[in-house]
Structure formats: structure tokens, C-alpha cells
Amino acid sequence: MLFYFRARHLFRPFRLTTCLLLLICSCLSAVCTRRQFIWKMSRAGLSCPGCGSSNIVDDNLYCQSQLVCVDCGSVVSEGALVAADDHVGGSDVSYSRSTAVAKKPCMNLIKGIQRVKAICRILRVNSGIEDLSQTYYNLAYQHESFIRVSLQKKEVLAGCCVLVCCRLLNWPITMGTISCLLDADPMVVGMVYQEMVKILNIEPPIINVTEVMEAHSLEYKITSLHVPEEYAETSKDLTKRAVSLVELAADSWIVTGRKPIPIMMAAIYLSWQSLKPNKHRLKCSLEKFCQIAKVNKHRPASKRITEMKKVLCKLGNEIPWVREAVTPDNVVRQVEDILKHRYALLRRALRTHEEALLVECQASCEDSLTEEAAPTQSSALVEQNPNASSVEQCELNAERAQRPGDGDDNPCTVSELHTDIQESQYPTPNWGKRVLFAPPCVTHPRKKRRVEQPELKDVTGDEEISDSEIDSYIRTPREAQEFILTQQLFYESEQS
């Protein structure tokens, strides 16, 4: 045993604890019975690789069990450094949890909030909107539909938060402005906006074009600071006139269903021309105007200008002191007068239109009366015969023409009367042809009017498909062969 002690001492660094341990071990083993000692001495079947002796003992050093050769002291094998049952009572902790630090706020969230602040500063909104948009951004960002989207979409989300807060707190801006600021596709902005509104359960008010007009007109750099005197105009005058133009356009079916920005652009262009209709301005096209004002031209704006000019011409022709006919070329000079007296002119135009229709009807009436019996008053003529409907129209017109004229009526009352009567009729196919103002999709219908198709009565589905018909669906074997050959030919010719 002393032998053993000495051998260990040779190959291990001397330490007090080791020494003590060994001393204790040796004492203990001395106290142990002979049989135990023999067990300690020999490990069955093992031989030391160094000296070849079979004197291998099991030893615990620093809680590590080892097989040691007594003769030369070399370690034959060793066990685990830490025994498995030494950790009774402790729990398994994963690596990530053991190395975790305190949770830091998400960097992208912080950047997003800074972007929200930046957008608010650019738009120069008040602090209430800025705070509210940051709150909304925080909420929306953490939601599951936005936490994992791309960074570009998160930026769009920032813009949408600002947009919704502006709408809620009465500072209307358009989606077009936001998509310009973010340099993003307006459709993507729209999608993100709608999803965000759904998630956050907000009900923003719908903005009117007239409300946005002021903010929009500020974009046009057309004041005397930016351009020469013959082109300059104050933003206030421009806005005022453009708003009246847009209201007129709204009454005549130009605004409904159209994108607001081209309408606003057309209104501002026409109001700019009409505020000082000198030859410089009248010669200036929309494209040149956009270049002067440093805005991007929208293609639909030219169409809106044409439509607005048409409406203005219809009203312009009613002005009593204008002798010549008003055409789209010379209507700009009359715009100021038209807008000032627009309600009166509208009433006059409607009356003229009705009288024209009445004359037309009466002419066709005289032709058709010989063929058909005279119809009864207003209600239910069920057939869609155009003659019948126009005759009815004549009756109604005659009735209305007898009523007192102008007064202080709003055109609304005239039209309400008309719809009351009209509701009891069968709906006529194209009301666009009969009224003064109608949306273009009704005046020039591109699609054929849909009618109920008669159901197929002769097909049950379970019947045998006749030979002639089956030929149109299935190729004969010969045709199939030819098809394969032709395909191969094409393939080869493409390859070569």
C-alpha cells in the first residue's frame, strides 16, 4: 500500500489535499477487510498498457473515478469528470437561458418610431398627431401580422400610422402624399393601411376632396417667390377657386369614383389659368404648368380638365350677357362668372335641357301615337319599349314644365320630384342619355347590358355525349399520333 502511495506521488503534483485524501484512503483501506482489499487490488481482465501488469485498482481522485495501474502508476482509463448523480436536486438550464441578459428593446422598433417622428416633422403636423401616431405604431408593430414582415413594409406601416392619425385629428392628407414621402407603391400603402385599421379597430373619417385641397395646393410652388410675376399666384386664391371648381365637378359626376389627386391637379390648373387669363397662362399646357410648379404630372389630370371644361361650357352657354358660343377654348375667361353664379346657371341649364327633351319627345310622340294607344299617367309600364318610356317621360316633363319656375329652389327639389315619379316606373336602360350630367360609364357604356340567360333545358349531364360532339373533345388515335409527330418536329426545329 505504501508502494501504491509512492507510485502515485511520482506521477501527480504534490498537494496537501491529495495527500490528506490518500492518507485517509489508505487508513480506511487498512481498516477494511481483507476481502475488500483484494477487490481493490485487482480489476478482472484488465492489464496495464504501460507495464503489462494486471494490478489495476479503481480510484477516486477529485470525484473522478479512474483505473490506475499499481506498478507503474499509469492511468488505464478514467470516467466522467462529474458523476451523473452528483447533481441531484438541481435543474437543467438551457444554454440560452444561462447566458441571457436583460431584454433590450427591438432596434427596428426604435428606428421605426424615429421614422414616424421624421415623417411628422416633414409634414409639420401638431404634437398631438405625433404622439398618437407613435402609440399606434408601437401597438401595430407588436401585433402578429406586422412583427415578421419585411423592413420595407414596416416603413410603410410607419407612414400609415401617421396617415390615420392625421385623419382622426382633422388634418387631412391624401394617401398619395404618404406614398410619395415613403417612395412606395400606393397599392402596397393601401393594403397595409387597411390591415392596420382592421387590427387596431380604428374608424377614421372619410376625407372629402375639398378638405384636402388646401394641403395639396401648398405643394405647388407657384407663389411670387418661386416664379416670375405673370405666373405667380397666392396659394389662398388658388385654393378658394379650386375648391369651388371641385364642388361644381362633384355635382356633375366628375368626382365620384375617381382618384382625388388628378381632380385636384386639374382644378388647380384651371383656377390658375382663370385667375389671370392673360395669353401667357392660356398658352401654357398642363405639362408646362407642372414643370413651373415643380410637381409630377398625373396622366388622368388631362382627362379631368377636358371633362371640367365640358361642364363649364354647358353652364357658360347659359350666361345671358355672352353673345358668342362658349367652347372649351374660350371658356377659361368665363370661369370666374360661371363660378360666381353657378347655382343659377345650373338651374337654367337643367331647364333648357328639359325643354329640349320635351321638344324631342313630342316630335317622336306624333310619329308613334298613330301606332300605339296613348299611355296612362305615371305608374307601371312594364315593357321596356323605348318609345313607351320616352312618351312617359314627355308626360312627366309637361307636368313639371307647368310648375312655377326658379324661385329660390335648390336644384335638389326639382330632382327629388323627378326621382319620386321615376321610382314607380320600371328602371329604364340608360339614364345617362336623358340627363344633363352623368358619369361617363353611363353615357358611353362599353359593356353590353347584362340580361338573364335562358337556362339550358336539354342537357341533363347523365346522357351519352353524341358522336359528333365527342369528336370535338377527344382526338382519334391517328390525330394523336400526328400531334406527337408535329410536336417533335417543332422541338427539333427549335433546337437547330
Binding site: 382625388p260 330632382s415 340627363v435 347584362r450 339550358l456 370535338s472 377527344i474
Partner: protein
């Protein structure tokens, strides 16, 4: 149909989409080879087959699932589907017509009055939503019958729903709401 007016509204069904299964694997190359009026799309993995009577386009997948579109009524869709199954039988596949289901119905309807969309949306928030910058129509979604109605300012509406009955119910439900927001046409 409507209790509020004497006239009847014409609801015209423009498209019915239905699916069914053939319970057997279909070899798309055989169909493409031996069938006329077919378009084979190997990149997607389907064959498009057009029937003349009734006028239907079918997308056929090799798993045996078939989608039929273009029918103008639910019965038409079923007839067309059965015809198609018959045709595939003739081509040599062991087809068994099963699991027929109408998935979507699209209908249009025209109101005899124009509608003021902004008022309509204000009265029916949050079920209705209107963004003029994105789409010219206001969208009205009825959750419990799973129907979506697109309302245009000219008075036309389009309705989509899972079957014809739901579509009719949706129109009946939305008519009074549209009636109170009507705009005089005569301006």
C-alpha cells in the same frame, strides 16, 4: 322580391365556381394529348379544358381534383361537372363523380338610383369601408352569411357569396341601407 317597392330587382348571376373529385389519378399528358380544346400547363401542373355546352372552363389536376368556372347557375355548374366527368370516362379513366360543391357565386345587380357613397359608409361603419384613392366602390361585408358587396356610386352593385341563396339574402339586406343614401340622379 322587395317589400319596399313594387318593382323587382334583377339579380344576374355572372359566375359560379364549383369543385368536385374524380377519386382516381388522372394522367395529364394523356388528357392533353387525346383531348382537343385543352391547354396543358406543365409548370403549374394542370390542364384547362373548355366545354361548349354548358359554357364552362375546368382546371384539372392530376390528383383528381377539378375546379369548374364560368357557369351561370348552380344547376349549370353541376351539369357541366357531370359532363366533364363523362368525358374523362370516355378518355379511359375510372372516374367516379363525388364531392361536388359550389364554392363561390358572383352576381351583379343594378339599383334604379344613384348612391352617395360617403353617407353610406358613414351610416354603416365599420361593416362598410370606402377608400376612394384605392378603389371606386365601397365594400360592405356581411359576416354571418359570408357575403361581400361592392357598391358603386352609379347604383350598380356586385355581390359574391358561397351560394345563390346567400347572395339573394345579401341583396335584400343591403337594399334598405342603399335606399336611404340615394342621390338624386338628375343633377
Amino acid at each position: 322580391m322587395d317589400s319596399s317597392n313594387d318593382e323587382a330587382l334583377d339579380i344576374i348571376i355572372t359566375n359560379v365556381v364549383a369543385t368536385f373529385r374524380t377519386r382516381c389519378h388522372l394522367n395529364l399528358r394523356t388528357i392533353a394529348l387525346e383531348g382537343t380544346n385543352v391547354i396543358y400547363k406543365p409548370e403549374v401542373g394542370k390542364v384547362l379544358m373548355k366545354l361548349r355546352k354548358p359554357k364552362i372552363t375546368a382546371s384539372i389536376w392530376s390528383s383528381g381534383k377539378i375546379i369548374c368556372t364560368g357557369a351561370t347557375s348552380e344547376d349549370d355548374a353541376k351539369l357541366g361537372a357531370r359532363r366533364l366527368a363523362r368525358l374523362l370516362q370516355k378518355l379511359g379513366f375510372k372516374v367516379r363523380f363525388s364531392a361536388f360543391k359550389v364554392v363561390n357565386v358572383l352576381a351583379v345587380c343594378s339599383m334604379p338610383f344613384a348612391i352617395h357613397l360617403i353617407d353610406f359608409t358613414k351610416n354603416n361603419r365599420p361593416i362598410a369601408s370606402y377608400e376612394p384613392e384605392l378603389h371606386p366602390a365601397a365594400t360592405y361585408r356581411i359576416k354571418h352569411i359570408k357575403a361581400t358587396i361592392q357598391v358603386f356610386s352609379t347604383g350598380s352593385i356586385t355581390v359574391t357569396g358561397p351560394n345563390v341563396q346567400n347572395v339573394a339574402t345579401a341583396v335584400e339586406q343591403v337594399y334598405p341601407l342603399l335606399f336611404e343614401c340615394q342621390k338624386p340622379r338628375y343633377k
